[in-house]
Every structure is written in C-alpha cells, then in structure tokens.
Symmetry: C2
Subunit: 618 residues, 2 copies
C-alpha cells in the first residue's frame, strides 16, 4: 500500500528509482522518530539497512546482524537483499541493473551523506543519471509523521565541560588557521553540542539537540531553534535556515566532513568555496579535539565510572539475591533494576543505549533486545549484560558475562580466552603513533590460537555525555589511520559467540595514558602490579627504572599504555584459573582488589560482603 | 665542475631546475652501474637520495640512515638536506620555493616513476610548469659512463620454476580477464624474469636482465636484447623498442603499475588506453602471483634454506675455531668465508645482498659495510652477521647475533627481548585476511614493554632467485593492505640497536601455512611443540582436535600460521633464560633440536659436535 502510493508519486515526478536510507540529516547513530522513514515504508526497525524502490521492484539491503529480524518485520512487497552474501547484488549494482540510461534517481538529500552520494555517483557514472535529491516523497505520504523534536536543551556547566566555549573556539580556530580553512561547517550533533557546551533531549540515548554550526575566524553561527536554548557565545539562527545561509555565504575555503554532511547541504555550498578535501574525514577538527579528553573531563569520567560501577555491583548483588531468594527473574527485570539504580546516581541523564540483557543462547544474537520481559533466567549457563548511562560527567558502557550455576569446561575455557584477550589489551604498552588497528590482535590472540574469533570490533571511542560510540579512533581489524593518543578513551571488549548456545563478552573502558614502567616477567609480584595500578591512577609513575618506557629522553620514542576506568568484578566462577598465566592472575587479582577498595565504601554491608567474595584473589 | 657543466646545459635548454634521482628505468632496488647518475654528479653512494640543481643552488635529499655518509662523500658544491629533520624542506617544497611560475623542470624520465611524477605535479600544480622529462643531461656530460650491461641471461629450468611460461601466462590472463584488462605492461625486472622463466646477470645481487614485457590475451611481447637470450614463449623486441612500440600499440585498457613504470613509458601510452587505475599498485597481477610460492617453489626454497643453514653453521664453527686457535679475525674475513662456503653449495648463483658483518658498535649502524677488512673481532661483546645467497632454488637471508665472550646483563636482556619477539611472531596464528601490519606488534611487544623499539620493518617478502626484498606484502608498523596468504614467505627480524655500543637482530624466514592446532598454555610439552613442527613441515596437521583452527567448517573462519624455513642456531650464551616463558623455552629447544637433526648429516664431525652443543636444550 505505502509502496504503491510511493510509486504513484515517483511516476508523477519522473523518478525511476527512489532510495530510502536509515538516517537523519546529521548521520547520527541514534535519531528522533521524525527520521524513521525507512521504518515507516518497510516495517523493518533495525539500525542498518536501506530501501530502494523502482516501478516494479522494491528491496531492503541489510547486513548479517539483521537477516532474521528483517525477514520477520519486512512488509511483503519488499524483497530482502542479504548484503555480503554470495551473489547478492549491492544496492548500487541493483540500481545499475535496473535504472535506464539517462534515468532519474530520487531521494531525500538530507538523509544521505555527501560521501555516500559520491560513491553512488561513481558506481553509476556510466548511466548519465539525473539526481532528484530534494524529494522527500515518504514525507509527503507519511500523514502522522512525528514532528521534529522540540525538547529544551540545557547548558553543560563548566564544572563538567572543563573549557569555556571561547577556549574551545580558540582551539578550533588555531587548527583552522594551520590548515588554511576560513570557514568550518559542523554537522555532527555531538560536535556542535561539545563545542558550544550544551546538551539536549531530542534523541533517546544521545543527549543532544538538532543543530548545525558554522565557524569563521571572527564569527560562530549556530543553527538551533531559539525555543530550545539561548547560546551566549553564538550568533543564533533557526535550524532550517542553514541551506539558504550557505547560498549567500562568502568565504575562501569552507571545510565540511563529507561523512556527516548531507547532500542537501553539500550541494548548497558554492563549488569555489568547497574545501572538503583539505582534511581527511578522520582529521576533522572537532572530532579530533573532543576525542582527546581534557584533564577535567577525564577526572569527571573516572568519577562517572565509579558511579556506574556502584550501579553494576548493586545490580549484580540484587541478581544474586533474587536468584537465591525470590525467583523467577527475567531479562526485563534486570533492565528495570539497572535503570532504577542509575537514576539514584548524581548527574544521571539517561541510558546511553538499550541495555542488552541476554540469557543463554540469546547472548549469541547481536543486538538482542529482551523487551519488557524476555527470557526467565535459570541457575545454569551464562547471562550477558551490556549496559551504560549518560551522566553529565561521562558516558559509560560496561559488559559482564555472569555464570548463573553449572557451566561446561568448554564454557569456562571460552570465558577465560576472552578474559585473556581483555587483559592483554589492557596491559598493552605501545609506541606513540600506534593505531588501534595495530593493537587489535592483542585482544584476539588467545582466541585465534584456538581457532576462534568474534566478528566485531574490539573497541570503540566514547563521547562525554554524548554518543556511546564516538570516533575517530577505534580498535578493529579494519585499518583506521587515527593513532591512539593520550587522553582518548576506548572500549576493550573481546567476545565469543556460540550460536544457539551462549555469548561471552567482557567490556571495560580504558584511557590512553603515558606508559608506566613495570616488570614484564613471571616473577612480577602482585604488589608491583598494584603499585603500577596505583601509580597510573594517581597520575604518578615509577621513575627509578632506567628502562622506563615514558622516559622523555628515550631515544626509541615515547610510549603509551592504558588505564582501566571500569570497576566491576569479573565472574570468578566462569574462569578456568589454570589457563591464566601468573601475570594474568596477578593482574586480575590487583584489578579486583582495586575494585573492592573503590566501590565498597558506597555499598550496603550485604553488597560489600558479596563484593568481597566476588573479588577474592585466585 | 660537474655541477657547473650541468648548469651550462640546463641554461642552453631553458631548464630552471633539474632532478637527478637514484634509480634505473624499472625502479629496481639494485641496478647496473650505468644508472648511477646521482652517484656521478654528487659523489654520494647511498641507496636512497636525490639531487636537485638550479641555476644557483644544488642539494641532496637523503634520510637519517645516510646523514653521516652523505656529509663525508658529498661533492662540496651540493648542500645536504636532511629529510625528516625539523625545518628541512622536502625537495618538492624546495622546488616550489625556487622555481619561477611557468618555469621548466627537467629530468631523465626513465629514472622517475609515474607515481613519483604525479606527486611532483600535485605539489607544484600552482606553478604552471613545463616538464622536460626526456632530458638525460647527466648522460650527455658523463663521458666514461658504463654502457648498459650485456651479460647473458639463462633459462630458469622447470625443475626450479615449477610452472611453464604458458601456465603462468594463463594465470596472468585469467586475472586480466577478471579485471577487464586487455593489455598488461610489466616493468619490474623480477616480474618479467619470473613470468618468462629466465634469470640474468645484469645486476649485482639481483639475478635478472634488463627487460620489459607487454601481455595481451593473445600475444606476449618481451623487450630484451636478443644477444642475451632467446625466449621461446615470447615475441621478442629490442630493449629500447618499447616506447615506440607503445605509441603504435592499440588496445582498450592497458594496465601498468605506476610505482614501477617510468615517466617516459607512462607518457608514451595513449591516454585513452591508460587503465593504470583499474588495480591498485599493491594488487598488480604478477607481483601478487609470484608472492604466493607454488608447492614446487616452496619445496625448493626449503631446500635452499637447508643449504644456507649448512653454510651458516660451517661459518659459525669456523669463526668459533678461528677465534680460539687462529686470531685475529676481521669482519672482512667472515664475509669471505661465507662467500666461499656458499660457492660449494649446489645451484649457487651469487650473494643476495652485501653481507653485513658488524662487530660491536658497528652493528648499531644501519647499512654498515666492513669493506675488505673492517674491524678485528675481540673475545667480548656481540657480532652481527646478516647474509644471504641467490640459489636457483631460492633466495636466502639470515641474521644472527653472536656472543663472542663477556656480555653485560643488559645485553643479555636485550638479546632475549629480541628473541621473544621473534618467537612470538613465528608462533602467530591468525585469521585469513590478516595483514602483516596487524601482526607487527607481536614482534615488538617484548621490546615496547621495556620502552625499546627498532626503527625498521619487522619483515619483508623475498623473491625466488630474485630480489631479496620483494613485496607486495610485508610486516611493518605502516599500514599495508595486502593480507598474508598461504604460500607467501617473509622475514621475521626484530632487532634492537644501542648507538655506540651494539646491535642485535635475529632474522628467520617464515612461510605462511594453514594453521596447525596446538596447545597454548604453560602445560604445553616439548613433545607437543615438536609434533607440531613435524606436522607443519610435512604438510600434515593434527586433526583430532575439535578446536583445530584449520578446520574448514570452522564458523569463525580459516586460520593461518607460520612455518620457519631458516635453520641456524640462536646463540644460547646470549640468552637470559629466566626471561623466557616455558612456552618460549620449549619453542627454542624444539627449534634447536630440529636444526641439529636437519643440518648435522651435512657437517664434519667437528662441526656437528659444535652444533650439538650450540643446540642443547635450555
């Protein structure tokens, strides 16, 4: 029905194929309901996937994470194209096949990035197409479309923000000068919010407001509806005023990031001003600045992780007691318990993503969502919890895999292999300039040695009361040229999934810090490991060692390491201790001792007693 | 004087700046003396560096490896520009500063690659320059220039080549078809020699002849002087005939690799045929085909490494005995001894590079060359030997660091850290598709944990009776997108240099093979390690293990590992055994036992006795 209506509109406008992607006007991971056009037309609700409609065909392209969900949800006029499967066309190849030469391809240019559009044009360059990129056809058909959000935004106070807007603008302008950029268009919502020290409520899990910004050496324009907030450090315009503003705007070299700037905006920039190639997308100024957390931000983030550690331990104790005294417990019960515990913590804003609360085989499914109830837990097997909060002083993300009773030797071994990878990455010492891609193997090595692997990245960056997934850095098998720099924070989350049986993931957040000298070998004593943890968390480090990797005069270079920010016990019942080296055991014991010391003052006597047991040395 | 003469010629031709690079017409690492124009004009003999001359300035640009040598050798009319040092202009930036707008830049287009020329044009695009790329001005001045080599080439017999030229051409044409390439220009000397199963004597250390090839789906043209060889599978043309041939040649899509194709040739290709962008340089067809050694090639290479292992052990025993009975021994004596020992081995062709025979602090210098005599060895400290041979059945490259007597605890520790890195890389198990860049950290980790590093790659590919450094794969900190594939061979050579004191490097050659299942943990028994070495060297592998990483039905993917080809003892006197884990000790002991078993049948009783001692378990 909706597809048929769309085809009527397409025909009226002479459009041969129409693309409906999943996306808002800012390439956001999370977005307001207003933007869920692909969901409306297709019924499919997954976070990745794109619909293409022609006069006689309609397809959804999505990846392996969503094949089952898409098959279940998809409106029956739309065919599922399983991206990445053999002999399945890409949507560009489909378009090349279906579109007539000289045909017209339509889409809502706000929902496709300039970078994606460039790829489409390249793939279809022989077709001599016309691009109707201002056609929001779904918007015309969608009668009860939710309006754009109008929630109030609020200042992110200086105690949290650390730097004033003026200071941040000075940093941005210094970079612009260095790169000879005369104007800088910010299109990513987190970049605008971070630079102007505000947060918002327009999007679930992502505390921002819909806004753009345009920075010159003398002016700072923000395009955000004035009902939401008044920004004292900016010239304020309506959110919708940007395309027109750009058409009249004069500058020499305007930089914008084609990965987050939509086609409508990119096309509104006079070609002579376009300096989008002056920086590579991963060198974009504000993403790079905000990825390196300031000392104030880092101190606050550490505090946020202590708060979230308290939440996690209270939940784990509650789960332990409920399984003992008051079953049944469902996956949904645990989500609610966590949410209520987080609300008690100071500066809590919202959750940072939909908690994954997954028992048994559910944990082997990517993006499992238990809903209100979900599966009832039993006193056996693994339970996986992946959860995080947005606090004014930080964004958290923690995963633990809990042993609920009997588990097999294979499960213990698999858990221990994942733990070994997590420990190896957290203990890494690496030359300044090293990328996350170069470190990735440290987390996978114990699994690879057993012929096992996980098909996702090892680590993602995190925002600061912003996106829970925030680049430009990460730790993956795919190459990413961004080096890990002191002050960046990133997740450390090796995993293992056995389809139909269980899923294991252990996720801590780690911060890049100057390397602390430490002994490497099997004679390493727990007290020494401990001294190192103490030293790195207090900002000091052992300097008596002539081989100190952070010796500034080291002719071999400057070395970096990680400091673990997450405090939450790792289930000792799931570990096969004989598979751990002495160094790994000592590391785990030191981590647990530190976890107990930091969290126990904030717990009830029962919780504290439970944590003492859960963090005993092995 | 030479510079002044060059300036007269430049003025006569209206050339404002003239570039004299280090290179032949094929971007070869080693080249005939005919091509040493930069050496002739500047006096500098290093293997990297480029001269630029203007009407009133002349500079040599070279990197840190050569600063001292360049300062010593450089003709005093030429200024040294230390590439990479702060505030030192690149030669392109120098040209941008010195050249007038609309000026003329000259060079011998045979000695600059199309890729380098593209960079020059991009850097100077605002200058509106004319490029005089057919001007061999140095050639006009250089009266006693050595002529192009005329040495005979010879067939590489099928017992070594493994595949006929017809079979190799069929493989090449299949790839061409897949990529819709109608003609393929081969400019790298090793590619031409490999494809047409011949070897030559035009260049020291690099057994090839000067030649080009042009392959279509029906024809195979080789441009090589007919006095050198007759190639039965090719239409043969004079070496110099290619530019003219290209001008008259008609095809649809001609692929050439801009990294090895010189400007003169690239400019001779009609623009409409230019399909150099159809493949990325690292995807070039013949380099990819020849990087993956065939079963015949691999079996031969294994044999070549046994021969070279015999040579190394005979040399080590000779050195041991000479130091004991018949000193003094010089660095040069060892080079001569090695050369004489290699000559006794079947199928020996020549050395694969200038042996580095470096005592004490000499080993901390990159590219040290002892000359005829060099330093006299004393019964203390480290001696480093890096040496290899060209055999018809393989190209070898081995480095060992020998303890000659007393060494400090620091030296033992440093040696052991390097060894740990070497062992870790050789034991790697990795997912198919993994690049060398992703594995590099395994070799550096033990050093990085002590704040140490080596400023070169960990591994380079090797040719087959061809270049000792041969891509497209490698193992370095810099990203290289080429995955390590089964059948590739590569060096494993972590190192450590203490300037003014000593240098340590341990280099084995390893081959990528299907992963063999093996236990990971500290309970791993020597017999098990041994079983694995046996299994992998015989092509079998343990298949009784359900976690076998090479299980073809493994849902987590296919796993690869390395097989070590080099057999040569690692000096036990240089090791601090307490720094090795049990796994590392077992690995070393198994490697040594295998080395003894394989080499001792080919040694004298005295040599064999010495090797027994040198390979005893620790």
């Amino acid at each position: 029905m909706r597809i048929a209506e769309l085809r009527v509109l397409m025909k009226a406008r002479g459009i041969d194929a129409y693309i409906i992607p999943h996306g808002d006007a800012h390439a956001s991971e999370y977005m307001a309901e207003h933007w869920l056009a692909r969901e409306w037309i297709s019924g499919f609700t997954g976070s990745a996937g794109l619909v293409v409609v022609t006069a006689n065909k309609a397809g959804l392209w999505t990846d392996g994470r969503y094949f089952i969900q898409a098959a279940r949800e998809l409106n029956d006029q739309i065919e599922l194209y399983k991206s990445g499967e053999p002999d399945v066309l890409t949507y560009q190849a489909f378009l090349e096949k279906e579109l007539p030469t000289g045909g017209k391809l339509g889409f809502d240019g706000r929902t496709i990035t300039a970078a994606e559009f460039a790829k489409i044009k390249e793939a279809l360059e022989d077709k001599n197409l016309t691009f109707a990129y201002k056609e929001d056809l779904v918007g015309e058909l969608w009668k009860d479309r939710p309006s754009m959000p109008t929630a109030k935004a609020f200042e992110h106070p200086i105690q949290f923000a650390g730097k004033t807007v003026a200071e941040k603008l000075a940093d941005v302008r210094a970079k612009m000068k260095e790169k000879r950029i005369t104007a800088y268009l910010l299109t990513a919502l987190d970049s605008v919010a971070w630079l102007f020290n505000f947060r918002g409520n327009d999007i679930k899990f992502f505390p921002v407001s819909y806004a753009f910004a345009l920075i010159t050496h003398t002016e700072a324009h923000v395009f955000i509806d004035s009902e939401k907030i008044t920004l004292p450090d900016a010239i304020q315009h309506d959110y919708d005023a940007l395309p027109k503003f750009l058409q009249d705007f004069k500058t020499e070299k305007l930089f914008y990031n084609p990965n987050t700037t939509n086609v409508l905006l990119a096309e509104a920039i006079p070609k002579g001003m376009d300096a989008s190639k002056l920086l590579k997308p991963h060198e974009d100024i504000v993403p790079m600045l905000k990825a390196v957390k300031s000392p104030t931000e880092l101190a606050n983030i550490k505090n946020a992780y202590i708060k979230d550690g308290i939440v996690m331990v209270k939940m784990l104790y509650w789960l332990y007691a409920a399984m003992r005294d008051n079953p049944p417990v469902t996956e949904g019960d645990i989500v609610r318990t966590l949410k209520n515990l987080r609300k008690e913590q100071p500066f809590y804003v919202c959750d940072s993503f939909a908690t994954i609360s997954a028992y048994g085989e559910n944990a082997a499914l990517s993006h499992y969502n238990s809903g209100e109830t979900g599966t009832t837990l039993r006193a056996e097997g693994f339970f996986l919890i992946d959860t995080g909060g947005q606090y004014l002083d930080g964004t958290t993300d923690t995963t633990r895999t809990i042993c609920l009773g009997t588990i097999s030797e294979e499960m213990k071994r698999d858990f221990t292999l994942v733990l070994k990878g997590n420990i190896a990455l957290s203990r890494a010492i690496f030359l300044k300039g090293t990328t996350g891609s170069a470190l990735d193997i440290l987390a996978r090595k114990p699994l690879w040695e057993h012929g096992k692997n996980y098909r996702h990245g090892t680590g993602h960056g995190l925002g600061y009361c912003l996106g829970v997934h925030e680049g430009p850095h990460n730790i993956t098998q795919l190459y990413n040229p961004v080096p890990l720099a002191e002050g960046m924070i990133i997740s450390n989350e090796p995993a293992l999934y056995k389809e139909g049986h269980y899923g294991i993931r252990i996720e801590n957040i780690i911060a890049v810090a100057a390397a602390a000298a430490r002994p490497l070998f099997a004679d390493e004593m727990q007290s020494q490991v401990h001294a190192r943890l103490e030293a790195s968390s207090s900002g000091d480090s052992d300097s008596g060692n002539c081989d100190n990797p952070e010796n500034p005069k080291n002719p071999d270079g400057t070395f970096l390491s990680f400091e673990t920010l997450t405090y939450c016990p790792i289930d000792l019942n799931a570990i096969a201790p004989e598979l751990l080296t002495e160094i790994e055991r000592n590391h785990l014991n030191a981590y647990h001792q530190k976890t107990y010391e930091i969290l126990s003052p904030h717990l009830t006597p029962e919780e504290s007693e439970w944590l003492k047991e859960a963090t005993q040395p092995i």
